[in-house]
Symmetry: C2
Amino acid sequence: MEYEEPKFFHVMQYAAGADGDVIDMVSGNPDWEPPAALREALREYADLPPGAFQYPPSEGLLELREAIAERRNVDPDRVVVTNGTGEANYLALACAFERAAGDADDAGDADDAGDEALLMDPVYPYYPGKVDMLGGESTLVPTERDGGLDTDAIREAASGDTALIVLNTPNNPTGAVYDLDAIREVVAVADAVADAVDALVVVDEVYDHFDLTGDFESALALSSDRVIVTGGFSKSMAITGFRVGYGIFPEAYVDDAKTRHMLVNVAGARPSQYAVHHALAETPPDYYAEARDLLADRVDAFTDALDAAGAEYTRPEGAFYVLARFDGFPGTMANVKRLIDEAGVAGMPGEAFGTARDEWVRFALVTPRAEEAAERLADYFADGAPDSR
Amino acid sequence: MEYEEPKFFHVMQYAAGADGDVIDMVSGNPDWEPPAALREALREYADLPPGAFQYPPSEGLLELREAIAERRNVDPDRVVVTNGTGEANYLALACAFERAAGDADDAGDADDAGDEALLMDPVYPYYPGKVDMLGGESTLVPTERDGGLDTDAIREAASGDTALIVLNTPNNPTGAVYDLDAIREVVAVADAVADAVDALVVVDEVYDHFDLTGDFESALALSSDRVIVTGGFSKSMAITGFRVGYGIFPEAYVDDAKTRHMLVNVAGARPSQYAVHHALAETPPDYYAEARDLLADRVDAFTDALDAAGAEYTRPEGAFYVLARFDGFPGTMANVKRLIDEAGVAGMPGEAFGTARDEWVRFALVTPRAEEAAERLADYFADGAPDSR
């Protein structure tokens, strides 16, 4: 496979090996407490009889699927609990590419889905990696300067070979929260383009609890049988290591997703599912609001300092990240290493996220030292980019 | 995809809906206690700081990989911790089929691995399901009457199109424990057959702790760069729901396996890995020996009753299962349902495991009621098969 070791690990390793004190703004791991009910549920689970330690249903614990379905206002039969949102995205992409494969005997090649995925640029690098693994081709479609969807560009890029369009809102890395109307337009493009098998739209909503605008609407509101929505609890419950995500599939694709999930993973981890189910039932809205407020405060402090540093940036509407551009200091791996060594701040090079933001650096705000990092950046760039001083 | 809902679920559902008391001998879930240290580690984990709840390394917690490597006497770099042995087998099969895919640009089609998998018949049904999902073709190769490897049949079946050969020892469903010399011969076949890319041998050793002969030897002893060994803790620690398995890959395939694992699952569940690591370090050999002795006692009691029922069977050398054949009562789904309704015992129809044992029924011994079930079978068949009475 072509997928190289993510630049993510490369930067993390470099930062870990650096001489001075480095503030990690690379990883997307929340740094705050998980829900108290999650810890309590794990303690409870540890004392359950042996039967509770055996395989959960392949598609996930029924009570968890029902709780997700209730919150998402969908039929529980459409919910497949996965090993994190990552697996849900993998299943969704595989569904889109392989729709005709199971029917190949009846239908012949004419009915095959295409092998192209339209991905928004800048792009979360796992998406093109998964596309490549599944034998598809990625086409990067530029977004608006602020990260919003450019529906005209998507319409122009789409063709009979387009098997699916992948969206992520709130967006990593841009922080954009997509308008539901724009997503509706994208679904209309998916409906219209293909000669034989229409395209699907996969919407990754893993950051849905971190909408800072108050205007986020799930793509499920479109009630489209072309839309697969994925999500999970890694970010909302600050438990990226628990690996509990889910896909909400249109009825026509649920069986394919379940089959692939079973053949790849058999089932997800039951202790994790048990803990998430209890946390979902028992965690008050305040918990989520506090995490969101914490993030909003960090956005304020960090963007104030970016102003002081003379950086260009788009204020994120959601998710965990700020993309920033420093004049004369493009977001290359070399410059990111320089920031680690000379400013004591580790970010992600924009070139890791496709082509649209290769001048930029992504900073993750999931550290209590976000403000301090911003001050370091302001000091470092106080007299302009280092090479132009 | 062609893979149908496993007959497993169908039988389980039928048994659950039956009128009378039914003894479940369908599932492979251990019914005994997990290690005490595993429960204790989960309690500890529940109180760790938030950082411990975030992504483990994609290939698994280092301390767990090192512990596995030490027990398996391999380099830790070869160990990838997976979401159960199921994922490890998936990665291994994918490695075998796609070896040339990454090098397609350099090498052209001539160097592609073939698309055939040789599977032993009777077969654990997930293997052909995975092969089909990966676009390969399964060829079933008969085993000896006692379940042992028929190396001549394997040699005869192998061709330039053979990408891999899958073995499982101790075996589900036959209970056979393969001789290391026979596995060595299979590896020699894999070495010899292919025109361009040699075949790999995948050896699933998930039942390695349930060797009742004392003679089991891991295929790792062959030190072959054609052999991938998979395993896990689902059975040995009685935690099928924790989803902690591993693959031990030859150096040339580790990166491919890690990449696919990352793109599909990102990582496995950290609470599970943490608990397994502690249980591995702190559980005395007695724990494993007691589970094995329990199983051996059940084999004795169950096969005694099969004798009384006039059934044909092979005494298992390992794993959890007994295959039995009752004269005039072939192991069809219909007859298995009849056993549920009329004898109060649920087994798996032999036809679920390929073609070689479709006259047989598989009984799993992971129930405290194994002896009672055997008595019910003896009573039921006391006067011959029901239709011939």
